[in-house]
């Protein structure tokens, strides 16, 4: 397969499709689950297609579905989404150096279909493949968008045709979030932040009795993590060797991602 990819006669769209294929396939089960939940939350198939194209984020769409089911107010849903999507600011900034000289229109298109997973592919390609261009990257985003949207639409049909136990399908979201936590766990300090967040999240949600409790626990816990890191950096010039900040070894041996890169 590697040989085929390197063959110069292979058209560009085919090469990019091959690069994005592992991601495309992994979107199918998650997209189906998401389509089923959106149907249960009252979205018709057109709206499901629209939300998949316009938001294109598994976490965000699951969140919309689950908050509609518990009849959360509009402001609360939009605010939660904003905080959920705020992490893209970080992803976007770390890709920006590769998009220098691109038009605003291109940047808009690129930003609109950026998400966690195609970011990971594109960041890897940009940093390892000198021939990787911004338009190749945009094409990878669009392939993953296509697979995601079609899976959501099929999920919406499945949801309307079959009666499905939603508490089980809902666990797809929890599993997705757990996966994202694990991908973030890179040092003892991150593990510590995770542990204190559990306490804060329970405390604030029981106190405020709304999803704003999530916002409060997120801001407080991340601020504590950031403060501890700054304190260690200030006190200790060899902070990289500090037990709390030292990076874990990656068991699967996947390439370094953006936050490791920043420390250079």
């Amino acid at each position: 397969m590697t040989k085929e990819v390197n063959d110069p006669s292979t058209p560009n769209w085919m090469k990019n499709l091959k690069v994005s294929m592992p991601l495309n396939l992994s979107y199918i089960p998650i997209g189906l689950a998401c389509g089923i939940l959106l149907h249960a939350a009252g979205f018709n198939t057109y709206l499901t297609a629209l939300v998949s194209i316009m938001i294109f984020s598994g976490g965000a769409q699951f969140l919309i579905a689950s908050m509609l089911v518990i009849e959360a107010p509009l402001l609360s849903i939009v605010l939660m989404l904003f905080f959920l999507e705020l992490r893209y600011a970080f992803l976007g900034s770390s890709l920006s150096k590769y998009l220098q000289g691109q038009s605003n229109r291109f940047t808009f298109l690129f930003a609109a279909s950026l998400n966690d997973e195609n970011y990971a592919i594109n960041y890897l390609k940009f940093s390892t493949d000198k021939k990787w261009t911004p338009s190749d990257a945009l094409q990878v985003e669009h392939y993953s968008l296509l697979f995601w949207t079609v899976s959501n639409i099929i999920g919406s049909f499945i949801g309307s045709a079959l009666h499905i136990n939603l508490t089980i399908v809902h666990f797809a979201l929890t599993a997705l979030f757990i996966y994202m936590i694990v991908m973030q766990l890179k040092s003892l300090l991150k593990l510590f932040v995770m542990v204190i967040t559990v306490g804060f999240a329970i405390f604030f949600m029981l106190l405020i009795k709304s999803t704003l409790g999530l916002v409060a626990s997120t801001l407080l816990a991340s601020f504590i993590g950031y403060s501890i890191e700054s304190y260690i950096r200030k006190r200790n010039p060899k902070y990289r060797k500090n037990r709390l900040l030292r990076l874990f070894k990656n068991p699967a041996g996947t390439p370094m991602d953006e936050s490791d890169e920043d420390d250079k």
Partner: protein
């Protein structure tokens, strides 16, 4: 209150805006400028805190915001399994599929 399609449509439009702003503004802004260090350092800790809060809400907070894990045993066990699977495989698809399978099987057994 059941929402109608028009309300859903406006929810999507508003969501599109709040989803686009964090993706577009930094990308456009930092194409020519340097990213402030404190922002990067702070953003480092936001995802883990946010995702942990969301998982805590899914696993042990009821829809009326009380603490309960009584009927969540299949989810709690599966959460531990997913955590281990995600750690070793680093694959989103495998984590989600194994999670769904295990919550289904454990709920069936219990």
């Amino acid at each position: 209150m059941e929402w109608n399609s028009t309300q859903h449509f406006w929810l999507i439009m508003l969501s599109f805006l709040v989803a686009l702003i964090p993706r577009f503004v930094p990308l456009a802004f930092f194409r020519t400028r340097k990213i402030p260090k404190w922002f990067n350092e702070w953003m480092n800790y936001v995802p883990i805190a946010l995702f942990t809060s969301l998982v805590v809400k899914d696993l042990c907070i009821t829809s009326t915001y009380t603490f309960s894990i009584a009927d969540k045993l299949p989810e709690l066990i599966s959460a531990v399994i997913v955590f281990a699977i995600a750690y070793w495989t680093r694959s989103m698809a495998i984590s989600v599929v194994v999670g769904l399978a295990s919550v289904f099987l454990i709920a069936f057994i219990i």
